[in-house]
């Protein structure tokens, strides 16, 4: 059902949105685990890293993008929680066509590189190549935004 001229949306929110979500995540972590709890350091790193990715996914649009959906779903599974996803009204991308799969519709060298990309982008495994690229563009922007936020935080916290 994808129209030939569908608009590619790569809008990414401002840095503040990412910062806010991340700080909120961090503060939730602190209330759950007081600083002096016997957590091992590596567990704390893992928790903070996870908080970073989850807050990034939320800031980027939560369940409205395929990659953030996949990321949040993966994180919820890790926590053994179930996340409520609202039904998307829009048609889902990965519909199974009745046509035979044309494996050489694109040059094999492109598909090969796309395969590596699929392993890196959350939810990439189920995406058709053109959708994958759209999601990747958005993912990259959000990821670099999140990294900037974390860098600012680290810079602000580091002793002068």
């Amino acid at each position: 059902m994808a129209s030939a001229d569908k608009l590619i949306n790569t809008y990414v929110p401002e840095k503040d949105v990412f910062a806010l979500h991340f700080l909120q995540s961090l503060s939730n972590l602190r209330t759950q685990n007081p600083l002096n709890s016997p957590d091992k350091s590596i567990d704390r790193v893992r928790k903070i890293k996870k908080a970073a990715y989850v807050s990034m996914a939320r800031a980027a649009g939560g369940t409205s993008r395929l990659w953030s959906r996949a990321l949040l779903r993966r994180a919820a599974k890790d926590d053994n929680k179930s996340v409520r996803f609202s039904r998307r009204k829009r048609k889902v991308t990965w519909k199974i066509s009745s046509k035979r799969k044309r494996s050489n519709q694109r040059a094999p060298v492109v598909e090969e590189a796309a395969e590596r990309l699929r392993n890196l982008v959350p939810g990439g495994g189920g995406m058709e190549t053109s959708k994958l690229m759209e999601e990747t563009a958005h993912y990259i922007k959000c990821l670099s935004m999140q990294v900037k936020v974390m860098q600012c935080l680290v810079d602000g916290l580091s002793p002068k």
């Binding site: 030939a4 600083l35 991308t93 990965w94 189920g126 974390m150 602000g156 916290l157």
Partner: protein, 94 residues
């Protein structure tokens, strides 16, 4: 993590033309700082762009890892009376 793989690979969007692929790739290219404009054929530059993208994502993940590390250390060792702690407190509670 097991995401559904090729079993649900849709070929119904195979009608997307090469023009659109080019357009998408140029959009992707704009998101990556290192890519230079490449005058070579579509196929070759496409796979190069995708490769650069993979590298870029891996770098970002690595940076996020390192920053998580440092952030954890800083948060653990922060002196509650320092100005930094006050900043954090105000940010988190504000």
């Amino acid at each position: 993590m097991s995401s559904s793989r090729r079993s649900s690979q849709a070929s119904s969007s195979s009608r997307i033309s090469d023009d659109q692929i080019t357009d998408l790739i140029s959009k992707l290219r704009q998101s990556i700082p290192e890519i230079r404009q490449n005058r070579r054929s579509n196929t070759v530059s496409a796979s190069k762009v995708l490769q650069e993208t993979c590298n870029y994502i891996r770098n970002l993940n690595k940076e996020a890892d390192d920053l998580s590390d440092r952030l954890t250390q800083l948060l653990e060792s922060i002196d509650p009376n320092s100005p930094q702690a006050a900043v954090i407190r105000s940010l988190i509670n504000g």
